[in-house]
């Protein structure tokens, strides 16, 4: 048992990462359900929670966001899936640094435990949101949870930065130096291109976030003043003795925060490309262009952070500059979407469960992506910033697209993990309920946001506003969210039941071309590109990337 838990085997680590993300997504989902119920019935006493106080609600928001963004969307699609299949996809025997790999996983697990511990310290979890803007996050007296809870949050994210950094070094070196002879750049599966880009982004921005976290920690405990201005008066006490600026944190945080979104969604884009080619039985038209666009999205992603700061007090001319870079990122994203639609148009589509989830990913990527150009315009964002419109936007384009890509990957690669297939009927049921309930949950949030409803409001009715016009909308969202969460029980059942009793998978069950499906890795020679599918008159045909070397050789 000990040998199996403290493993350095990449595939086992990949499964451990996915299980960690599963634990985090279950916790994060339960927190969001409590939030949704509280927003609609604010005076209801919930089992285990009792009545929710305003600071409890903000703690739930903070922990929900932190769990989902770091421990689910950064972990599962990137390092989780990469450990599962990246070495095989490039024909490597293992990751470049197996022990570093294991250390990165255990640091991630430690970070998760430290984060969850914040619920159990006096005053509970922090309330300043996953963005932790100072001075609220810099001064313990600024609110409940900003003492020990905030310290634990900072430690957790600090450890997570280190773990992601180690994981990214490992991935990057593996891709650069461990490719099998014949695995040229233009033969890389699109997932590998995506992991290449995300590992570069991770190295850059998580290092920078770690620095910012250390500065904030130092402001809290070592008397420095990076983020707290002179004369800052919190709770009756002057806490600002230096000449720091909260805006510095916003710049540092969003320089990390925006590329983070691409770290979450780029692996899904790579996977969707592979799945569309496989289940449409078509080549990827413009393979080089689509790979290049992944790089362009990653690079542009580093220069758009100011669009989170249009109303932060940043110079309005800077707002214009960031608006233009942000609009520019719509172009490579559009190229990707049109590329996918082109693959699908001429294809002989096989609507298996992984394909359905990849199509769902595409649907959410379009739905959430299209509100991007609205939010990229400072003049419109000045109305919509921090309203539910933004919540709708990123839950569609990052959360739902990201999660659907994870589902697609789990259904697709399940035979590699367990040698069994997941149940297709349950998979399709899971897909349709999840698709409809996810739209039902997140699409109506656009309307709440347009009505001016801010995020982080624990109840609709305040001293001045009632927001009664959107009460029905909000109730619908809550019911839909409950349905969305319940539908995931089908998935959990399917995973655990199929792992034990699922149909035994034949070799290469999806008739795929990429190397992770090669029957005998040791004898596989890389002979061609990743997507050699073809549709003949009445037949489809495919040529895997590998040829098995004969025994004599």
């Amino acid at each position: 048992m000990r040998m199996r838990v403290f493993t350095t085997n990449h595939r086992a680590l990949g499964i451990l990462y996915l299980l960690l993300a599963l634990a985090a997504v279950i916790a994060g989902t339960l927190l969001s359900l409590v939030m949704r119920v509280h927003r609609v019935w604010p005076d209801l006493a919930l089992p285990f929670f009792g009545t929710i106080k305003p600071e409890d609600y903000l703690a739930l928001v903070t922990m929900h966001g932190t769990l989902m963004i770091f421990f689910v969307l950064t972990t599962a699609p990137q390092i989780g899936f990469a450990n599962l299949v990246l070495p095989e996809q490039i024909g490597a025997r293992s990751m470049a640094f197996p022990r570093l790999n294991a250390a990165a996983f255990w640091l991630t697990a430690l970070a998760l435990l430290v984060l969850l511990a914040a619920f159990f310290v006096p005053q509970g979890a922090p309330i300043s949101g996953w963005t932790s803007y100072p001075p609220l996050s810099a001064v313990a007296a600024a609110g409940p949870g900003e003492g020990a809870g905030m310290d634990l949050w900072l430690m957790s994210i600090g450890i997570f930065c280190l773990a992601s950094w180690l994981g990214a070094v490992n991935m990057l070196v593996t891709i650069l130096s461990e490719r099998r002879a014949g695995m040229t750049w233009s033969r890389l599966p699109m997932t590998v291109w995506a992991w290449l880009v995300t590992s570069i982004l991770t190295l850059l921005v998580f290092s920078e976030l770690l620095a910012a976290i250390i500065l904030l920690f130092s402001d809290r405990h070592f008397g420095s003043s990076f983020f707290v201005p002179q004369g800052d008066l919190v709770n009756g006490h002057i806490v600002g003795h230096g000449d720091g600026s909260p805006l510095l944190w916003l710049h540092l945080f969003w320089f990390f925060g925006h590329p983070e979104v691409y770290i979450a969604v780029l692996p899904g884009m790579g996977l969707a490309t592979s799945l569309f080619a496989n289940f449409a039985r078509r080549r990827v038209p413009g393979y080089r262009l689509m790979a290049a666009m992944l790089l362009v999205i990653g690079l542009l992603g580093l220069v758009v952070w100011g669009h989170h700061m249009f109303v932060s007090g940043m110079n309005p001319y800077a707002g214009t500059a960031f608006a233009l870079t942000t609009m520019a990122i719509a172009i490579p994203s559009t190229v990707e979407v049109l590329g996918w639609l082109t693959i699908l148009w001429g294809g002989r589509l096989r609507l298996t469960t992984p394909m359905l989830f990849a199509l769902g990913f595409l649907s959410f990527f379009i739905a959430g992506g299209l509100t991007g150009p609205i939010l990229a315009q400072p003049v419109l964002d000045a109305y919509l910033h921090n309203t539910f419109f933004v919540v709708a936007h990123f839950h569609l384009v990052m959360a739902m697209a990201g999660v659907f890509s994870v589902f697609a990957g789990v259904y697709y690669w399940f035979p590699l993990m367990t040698r069994r297939m997941m149940n297709e009927t349950l998979g399709k049921l899971h897909f349709w309920i999840t698709l409809i309930a996810a739209y039902g949950t997140f699409f109506p949030m656009h309307f709440s946001g347009l009505a001016g409803e801010p995020r982080h409001y624990e109840r609709l009715a305040g001293p001045i506003t009632s927001f009664s016009a959107i009460a029905a909308n909000e109730r619908g969202i809550t019911f839909s969210a409950l349905l969305l969460a319940s539908a995931q029980l089908i998935f959990l059942w399917n995973v655990f039941a199929s792992a034990r009793r699922g149909r035994v998978a034949e070799a290469n069950p999806w008739e795929a071309t990429t190397l992770e499906w090669a029957p005998e890795m040791a004898r596989a020679r890389v002979e061609r590109g990743p997507y050699e599918y073809e549709i003949l008159a009445n037949e489809t045909n495919f040529h895997p990337q590998w040829e098995l070397a004969s025994k004599q050789e």
Partner: protein, 258 residues
């Protein structure tokens, strides 16, 4: 349940195309117009992409391998890029109008101060100058919530209010400050949002054009009372405004400087 709510939403959106709070600012109609056609254009893109997706799924069993004309994706890409450029240009012009130039010299000065969990509004009085404030003098219970320094004569006629009252048709130049943490100053009806950041003084200007009352919200999470941190903007006729301000001034001078 959710499906019928979505349908209901669709009907209400059709009735009032943007669902936005009713507006009362001079720059509001242009912004609302921009928002409306942006939403419509992007909604059409959403529907077109999904129509393409559904059509691709429906024709999947066709035995002929007819692919879309090669030029189609490129034409679509060009059209979409043109749309993005158009959006960016039009939106930037409006942004520049609102934010690049400062307020007119005759604009009315009001200071907005956020603190956990309250908004204060300070009018400079007859001398048109704000008195000095010091954080160490802040004493809300003692009637000096902003820490006005009594030694500064300019502050003797400053009026501090918990309601923002503005005369209709006159440009207002707000000077935003915060005493403690970052707050978000948001008046949905005025299509106006800007953070109040401790350590900075930020200016935003706008002209209320319709008499009425408009909620003011905090849009940046600021602590446990965030959702309660609301105030009221009251846009009144110039005569009514003068009467209100004069009454406050008299009361202020009678009570004596703090």
């Amino acid at each position: 349940m959710p499906v019928h709510v979505i349908l209901l939403d669709a009907v209400r959106v059709a009735q009032s195309p943007t669902w936005m709070a009713s507006g009362g600012a001079l720059h509001g109609p242009a912004l609302d117009h921009l928002m409306r056609w942006n939403l419509i254009a992007l909604c059409l893109c959403f529907l077109a992409a999904h129509a393409w997706l559904v059509a691709a799924i429906l024709r999947r069993r066709k035995s002929t391998q007819a692919t879309a004309p090669k030029a189609l994706p490129w034409i679509t890409l060009t059209a979409l890029c043109a749309m993005y450029v158009w959006m960016a240009v039009i939106a930037q012009r409006l942004w520049a109008e609102n934010r690049f130039a400062g307020p007119a010299p005759e604009a009315m000065q009001v200071e907005v101060v956020g603190e956990q969990f309250q908004w204060y509004f300070r009018y400079p009085g007859e001398d048109a100058a704000f008195g000095i404030t010091r954080p160490e003098l802040v004493n809300a219970a003692g009637g000096n919530p902003l820490g006005l320094d009594a030694r500064d004569a300019r502050g003797k006629d400053d009026v501090v209010s918990s309601v923002l009252v503005l005369p209709v048709g006159r440009e207002a130049d707000l000077r935003l400050r915060s005493l403690d943490v970052i707050h978000g100053f948001f008046i949905p009806g005025m299509r106006l949002k800007e953070n109040a950041v401790p350590g900075l003084v930020l200016h935003v200007h706008f002209t209320p054009s319709v008499i009425g009352t408009y909620p003011i919200l905090c849009s940046q999470v600021c602590g446990s009372g965030h959702a309660r941190m609301q105030a009221m903007l009251s846009v009144v006729s110039p005569a009514e405004f003068q009467a209100w301000l004069a009454a406050r001034e008299r009361a202020r001078i009678q009570e004596g400087a703090p």
